[in-house]
């Protein structure tokens, strides 16, 4: 798992981070601009998504059709997304066409046409996304859970709402673009088959004269703790349960990751075994560790038919809290090999490597190599993880349920019956 990860930073605050994978025919890239939904003005939630939709409607010499044709003719498999801190523009393509593709993306970021006559179309696109989420019940539960766990603005809904999208006008879009599409804090990740020297030259010539407008990463605010129910006449009750954890940059991160791995990685993990295999309570159950810049959380989910939903929640809660009793050596052994295996397989995918190195750079200011990560995982000990769990027991839970009837956390039920 030996590869070179190199970085080059420009004076304007933009950084290139790249990992060479010369055995591949492809290359993948990811632009991460520090203008995610947490920077949306109040009452204009969804602005970052709206602006991202607008910048992809023509740039430089290309109108909106010519822009998409250009990417198609280069064979770029592209996408864009807005996250809490960033707007991302990603793509994978045959290696030889990277230079031409970088040209297109520098136009997109720096010279979008923002056609005024397409604002209403773009607004409808944003509205459709808001509406489509309404039908994704599992996602709705997890979005509500995030909102409560991280507060405003870090937990807010990325796509905004119908009122906020309706309120955004063209001048605001242009103003948002002008202040937020800038190089300070921006990351260009590249992984796959490329020539480093040439990539550096192109990076410099395309972005060095881009004027910065520095901004800081927004800090977390107060979270809401407790229980929340969304009424919906569904077949299953969808359950989301979260508790605070550590950040990706914390020295304890891999200890927390190990504990969540025991809960949820693989078919012999505790949640899969206890909730699905032994009790037949669900089809889908998981827990995952998520990190903002200054706080982390474990988010767990289970979906179960209405009648057995309380039982599912009880077992989920029991398994989360039982972590403090400790994990075992065989559990950690399985996790070590599973993670090693995943890391090796990442070498077959320029796309997954570029996501890792870009994310690492944002959180850490450097990227962990596959070897580093593997070493950290192999060095974990049961004692260290158990000590961590003693110090950071799962607690301060946030519960969101969606279904015909509300559920209660077991301790709340217990408190109610014992008065």
């Amino acid at each position: 798992m030996q590869t070179a990860i190199r970085t080059k930073s420009l004076d304007n605050g933009m950084t290139l981070i790249a990992e060479e994978m010369p055995w591949l025919q492809s290359v993948s890239f990811s632009f991460s601009l520090l203008n995610g939904c947490c920077y949306d003005p109040d009452a204009r939630e969804g602005m970052a998504s709206f602006v991202s939709e607008m910048v992809q409607r023509g740039c430089g010499d290309f109108d909106s059709r010519a822009y998409i044709e250009q990417l198609d003719s280069l064979g770029v498999d592209y996408s864009s997304s807005v996250t809490v801190y960033h707007t991302h523009f990603n793509g994978s393509l045959p290696a030889a066409r990277l230079s031409d593709t970088m040209q297109v993306y520098s136009d997109l970021l720096r010279r979008p046409r923002l056609p005024a006559n397409q604002v209403e179309d773009a607004r409808l696109v944003c509205m459709q996304e808001v509406r489509a989420i309404e039908d994704d019940l599992a996602q709705r539960v997890m979005l509500k859970l995030r909102e409560r766990q991280y507060g405003n603005p870090l937990g807010r809904a990325i796509h905004g709402n119908e009122a906020s999208i309706s309120a955004i006008n063209y001048d605001e879009i242009v103003a948002h673009y002008e202040s937020m599409y800038q190089p300070y804090g921006a990351i260009l990740g590249v992984a796959g088959n490329f020539e480093w020297e040439r990539l550096c030259q192109e990076f410099e010539s395309l972005f060095a004269d881009w004027q910065p407008n520095p901004r800081s990463v927004i800090a977390s605010t107060e979270r809401t703790v407790g229980t929340c129910h969304i009424h919906h006449e569904s077949q299953q009750t969808h359950i989301g349960l979260a508790f605070p954890s550590v950040t990706y940059s914390s020295p304890d991160y891999f200890l927390a990751r190990g504990a969540v791995g025991v809960l949820s990685d693989g078919m012999s993990s505790r949640l899969f075994s206890e909730i699905r295999e032994k009790r037949g309570l669900c089809y889908s159950v998981y827990a995952s560790l998520h990190s903002l810049k200054d706080q982390g959380s474990v988010f767990s989910y289970v979906g179960t038919g209405v009648e057995r939903a309380q039982q599912s929640l009880d077992v989920l809660y029991e398994q989360l809290t039982k972590l403090t009793d400790g994990i075992t050596e065989p559990e950690l052994d399985r996790l070590r090999i599973q993670i090693r295996s995943s890391l090796v397989m990442q070498q077959e995918s320029s796309r997954s490597r570029v996501a890792s190195i870009s994310g690492d750079y944002f959180h850490l200011g450097y990227a962990r190599s596959l070897n580093d990560i593997n070493q950290k995982i192999q060095n974990l000990s049961v004692e260290d993880i158990n000590e961590y769990l003693q110090k950071h027991p799962p607690q301060d839970f946030n519960l969101v349920t969606l279904g015909p009837t509300p559920l209660e956390l077991p301790y709340a039920l217990h408190a109610a019956t014992t008065g």
Binding site: L124, R131, E134, D135, H232, S268, G280, I337, M345
Partner: protein
């Protein structure tokens, strides 16, 4: 990279796409059985059986199976479709022999009563989960309406009733009939010691008793129509359409896939410009699905209920225009470029290569490398695209709409 193929004496096929430079290996047991092979009263048995295969053997408990898959760091899963059931794992090459031994063993499952009853609840949860998700059973309904008496009409998941009433004995009988070695292929890709693979397979699968297992191809007499499913709780309206397309053995399939990419790819296609760029729909697209003896072209669209009727009309105009405004050389060139790029990206993943090998066996194809497949796409002419567009008339379709809208004027 080189391709190897052979058959054990009992009829089990082995096909491998070997790559000594890969870092991992992937293996799949492809069984030529699925929903279409099921007696209707036990609808969903193939998929339920796929779950039960992980529930233990004569020498392994269900916990043993799950634990050992994790101890190898394997990425394992299974999937069931209308005409196939596939069990697959990706592992590091160190685990070649153990993964072959484990998968070979679980392909002879115990199908114990108590495990059967427990897993039945998981399957029912899965059915309920899909009932809560768009398009809320619309896919099952349109397959059933379109194919009518043809076995492809049968649902992969089955229903709460068919699964609820099923007995372990019925499943054991189905298993006995369908899991014959001459109906199974072991597909392999990546860094593999091929000679050892064959020795391991001889040892672990060589004793499986074959009994001639065949599937009779059936001509599909498909149907047209318009069906409304009321789903008041849904926010959006979901529109599905099926029309005939080339089967998995029809040479037209490459041209048909290019045509559907031109019309219905999620970016840059005619449907994209009509519905997605304009915000008239949140989802819109088209794709081909191929089976042994039939094929379909599926069109889908999701949008606000009050725009659904108008969108359906726009869709029909777009479908009619394929003949009056034929595909241009530029459209074909862009679609080819996209597909060529997708083939390169997929060929870098050992798991995708294993799926390619196994899927080619399912369709009785002579093995083709990714480069050979790319060359076929590259050779398709505008004339072939036009011929396919004329042959498969998208306007003559079965349409199913699901959502809150009830007052449709089209019927």
């Amino acid at each position: 990279m080189h391709y190897m193929q052979q058959q054990l004496d009992n009829g089990l096929t082995v096909q491998a796409d070997l790559n000594p430079n890969a870092q991992s290996m992937a293996i799949g047991f492809f069984v030529r059985t699925g929903a279409r092979d099921e007696p209707t009263e036990i609808g969903g048995v193939s998929h339920f059986l796929e779950h039960m295969v992980f529930k233990g053997t004569a020498t392994r408990s269900p916990e043993d199976v799950n634990r050992q898959l994790d101890e190898m760091g394997s990425h394992s899963n299974a999937r069931t479709g209308e005409d196939s059931t596939i069990y697959h794992s990706a592992v590091l090459p160190d685990f070649q022999t153990p993964i072959v031994e484990l998968l070979a063993d679980i392909m002879q499952p115990s199908l114990r009563d108590e495990d059967f009853e427990m897993e039945k609840q998981v399957i029912i949860e899965e059915i309920m989960m899909y009932d809560d998700q768009p398009p809320y059973g619309g896919y099952e309904r349109i397959m059933s309406e379109f194919f009518g008496e043809h076995p492809l009409a049968q649902s992969v998941l089955g229903t709460v009733e068919t699964v609820g009433n099923m007995t372990a004995e019925q499943m054991r009988q189905y298993y006995k009939e369908r899991y014959s070695p001459d109906n199974i292929c072991v597909a392999i890709a990546g860094k593999v010691d091929y000679d050892r693979l064959i020795r391991d397979l001889e040892r672990t699968c060589g004793h499986w008793e074959p009994h001639r297992c065949i599937r009779q191809p059936r001509p599909a007499h498909t149907r047209k129509g318009f069906v409304v499913i009321d789903k008041a709780q849904s926010t959006q309206e979901y529109i599905l359409q099926l029309t005939q397309g080339p089967s998995g053995n029809d040479q037209d399939r490459y041209a048909a896939r290019l045509l559907t990419a031109i019309l219905g790819d999620d970016c840059g296609s005619r449907m994209f410009w009509e519905f997605l760029d304009t915000g008239l729909a949140d989802g819109a697209g088209m794709g081909t699905y191929e089976y042994d003896d039939a094929g379909v072209i599926m069109t889908y669209l999701s949008c606000q209920p009050d725009q659904a009727e108008e969108n359906l009309e726009r869709l029909q105009i777009l479908q009619e225009r394929i003949l009056s405004q034929p595909v241009t050389a530029r459209e074909l060139e862009l679609a080819k470029s996209k597909i060529a790029s997708q083939i390169i990206l997929a060929s870098e993943r050992t798991n995708s290569r294993m799926f390619s090998v196994g899927t080619q066996w399912l369709r009785n194809h002579t093995f083709k490398t990714p480069a050979e497949i790319a060359a076929i796409y590259d050779s398709i002419t505008l004339e072939q695209i036009r011929a396919v567009a004329a042959k498969y008339d998208l306007t003559k379709n079965m349409t199913v709409v699901v959502g809150p809208k009830q007052d449709w004027s089209v019927t």
